[in-house]
């Protein structure tokens, strides 16, 4: 099996106000095409782990490999490039830029990658929006659409560079049942039809149950 993401002996401490060990010697890996959910109670360290895995938090001990490549801890612009190219993010809050319309928001990481021409990126962005069923919103300002729609735009943005893995931090946490189901269905579809690897942090058991694999955490340790 092709390992997309591999964590070896990850340890993390918070030093302020007192030293607490939040992640204790975590080791696991995620294979290509897996739809994994990361669950646990609030404060168990699941979000902390996600941010370590996402390369945004470099203050940890241990080794992180993405696509077989070890992530350095110091080289900020290299990590930015990795995030741009190989990781797609969906957060609890959508974080769309209000200055841009929906299409431009989706295109931004693609333009940053600078692999395709502007027209090509635009075409790809439209495709992603179509997959998510929101292509009719393309030219709307991003603060003029509903919460569920915003989250779908955020997913489209995560998909634009065809990342190795999509990471989500409670992507359904702010949504009602109907929209949560919609987002789950999208993730499921991505996993089934496009063999997309997904790692989603959630504390919604009904969401977690429907994924391929559940990583359950308690007090900084992986239980199963």
């Amino acid at each position: 099996m092709n390992k997309i993401l591999e964590a070896k002996n990850i340890n993390k401490f918070f030093h302020d106000p007192i030293s607490i060990r939040v992640l204790e010697d975590l080791s696991f890996s995620i294979n290509k095409g897996e739809f994994v959910s990361l669950t646990g109670k609030s404060g168990c360290g699941k979000s902390t782990l996600l941010y370590v895995l996402s390369t945004m938090d470099t203050d940890y001990e241990g080794t992180l490999l993405i696509d077989g490549e070890e992530m350095p801890k110091k080289n900020e612009s290299f990590l930015a490039k990795i995030r741009n190219e190989k990781i797609g993010f969906v957060f609890q809050f959508h974080y769309l830029l209000n200055e841009f319309n929906v299409l431009e928001n989706v295109m931004l990481p693609g333009l940053k990658l600078n692999k395709y021409s502007r027209e090509e990126v635009e075409h790809r962005a439209m495709e992603k929006l179509k997959i998510l069923g929101i292509d009719q919103l393309a030219l709307k300002k991003s603060n003029h659409i509903s919460g569920g729609e915003k989250q779908r735009v955020a997913i489209a943005r995560a998909l634009i560079n065809e990342p190795h893995i999509i990471m989500g931090d409670e992507p359904t946490g702010n949504l009602d049942k109907k929209n949560s189901d919609l987002v789950f269905d999208i993730f499921n579809k991505l996993s089934d039809e496009f063999n997309q690897t997904l790692l989603i942090v959630t504390h919604d058991p009904s969401f977690a149950e429907r994924t391929h694999r559940i990583i359950h955490m308690e007090d900084g340790k992986i239980i199963h």
């Binding site: 930015a80 741009n84 190219e85 957060f91 809050f93 974080y95 209000n98 600078n114 943005r157």
Partner: protein
């Protein structure tokens, strides 16, 4: 492509907060406007004041000074050659104030490529007789064409025509004060007595106003020939040669050279009028410091606005970083924002600065001592505009640099988890 993307993001951020942007840009515009106006006006005034003296003064004046002879007989005595000789009560040796061999010297100077032109001058101390009153004065014998060309003589001749000095025999142009005292006008005759007692009748062909009243009360101009006639001296008799150089800064060097070469005295303008140099440079310094202070204040405005913008746009910065923009990219975006405020504000400032100085240039400014000046003087030197735009870019860059660095250091995890 990459920078184009960053620029387009910067543009969107700018336009999204266009009111703040406008306030920041207006600050820059205002300071550049004042900077340009202040410098143009100040240096216009400087040029005017310097022109009062400097334009009319030769860059190098060649003359024979009244001073003791440097080669005293005792120094030539072989016995005391090695000794240090003390000589008391030396008298100045003023046998002849005319320049020896002036014709040849003038020919030689004319051939010097550094020289713009020269005009010979002969001064005569005379009394102007008006009935029983004698007024002391002096007549400068000049070549009025050369004098007009090099020292703007014609600009100060307020009535009559400077060229008439050459055309009409035994003619004179009197200072305004002098002509008022003598109560004569164009066409009248004045009688003068030389220091040797010779009397002459001269015809008034004009009056001049130099802007310095003391001059106008005692001075007058006649052609070189006329003054030579008055003093009964030969045609090559002149007591000073006024040289104008192409580059005024070379004057001290060239003056030294001429002193050696022609065995006369030569005085450069910097030595003769050092106080004017000092005055102008201090006025310039003051205008620059006021202008730059204005720009720095505008810079603080930009700094504040960018800081606020970064505070408001924390989320956007965080997501940009999460989706692959590096700290460097974020920094560039904010630097672009700052520089574009500086650039557009600055360009507008240059335009308004030009308009404001053009307006000041139209305001009437009449003063009795400056007959040629009708409006406030303005110097439209492109140098000020260059300095203005460069400074506006530099200050806005610096004002943007600190907030931009702050933005680049924002940790996306802190922002995103903080929700």
């Amino acid at each position: 492509m990459k920078n184009k993307l960053l620029i387009s993001i910067a543009k969107s951020l700018l336009l999204a907060r266009w009111k703040q942007t406008l306030v920041a840009a207006v600050g820059v515009t205002f300071s550049i406007t004042m900077f340009i106006t202040l410098l143009s006006f100040m240096s216009g005034l400087n040029d005017l004041l310097d022109g009062l003296i400097l334009n009319r003064t030769a860059h190098i004046r060649i003359y024979n000074d009244i001073k003791p002879n440097t080669s005293q007989p005792i120094n030539n005595n072989k016995e005391f050659k090695e000794a240090h000789n003390f000589i008391g009560s030396i008298k100045s040796d003023a046998s002849r104030q005319a320049i020896y061999n002036s014709g040849a010297i003038m020919e030689a100077i004319k051939k010097d490529p550094r020289v713009l032109g020269l005009s010979p001058k002969l001064t005569a101390q005379v009394f102007f007789n008006d009935g029983s009153i004698d007024i002391t004065g002096s007549i400068f014998g000049i070549n009025s064409t050369e004098e007009s060309k090099l020292y703007h003589f014609d600009e100060y001749v307020t009535t009559g025509n400077s060229a008439d000095l050459n055309k009409i025999n035994n003619s004179i142009i009197l200072g305004k004060g002098l002509s008022d005292k003598l109560m004569v006008g164009i066409g009248d005759a004045v009688q003068i007595t030389t220091s040797k007692g010779d009397r002459f009748q001269l015809k008034v062909v004009g009056t001049f106003q130099s802007g310095i009243k003391d001059f106008d009360n005692v001075q007058s101009y006649a052609s070189l020939n006329t003054v030579q006639k008055i003093l009964s001296v030969p045609k090559d008799y002149v007591n000073s040669i006024q040289v104008k150089l192409k580059d005024i800064t070379q004057a001290p060097k060239v003056a030294k050279e001429y002193e050696q070469l022609f065995q006369t005295d030569a005085e450069d303008i910097q030595t003769a009028n050092s106080q004017f140099e000092t005055g102008s440079s201090i006025r310039t310094l003051i205008s620059y410091s006021v202008g730059i202070t204005l720009l720095i204040v505008a810079g603080f405005g930009i700094y504040n606005i960018l800081n606020m913008m970064i505070f408001e746009k924390m989320d956007s910065i965080a997501i940009l970083k999460a989706t692959g923009f590096s700290g460097k990219d974020v920094k560039k975006i904010f630097i672009y924002i700052a520089i574009s405020i500086g650039f557009f504000g600055g360009i507008l400032g240059l335009f308004f600065g030009f308009s404001l100085s053009a307006t000041i240039d139209q305001i009437p400014f009449n003063t009795a001592s400056l007959p040629t000046i009708k409006t406030y003087p303005i110097n439209y030197n492109p140098k000020f505009y260059m300095i203005g735009i460069v400074f506006s870019l530099i200050t806005t860059y610096l004002a943007g640099w600190f907030p931009a660095r702050k933005a680049s250091k924002i940790d996306p995890v802190v922002i995103i988890r903080g929700k």
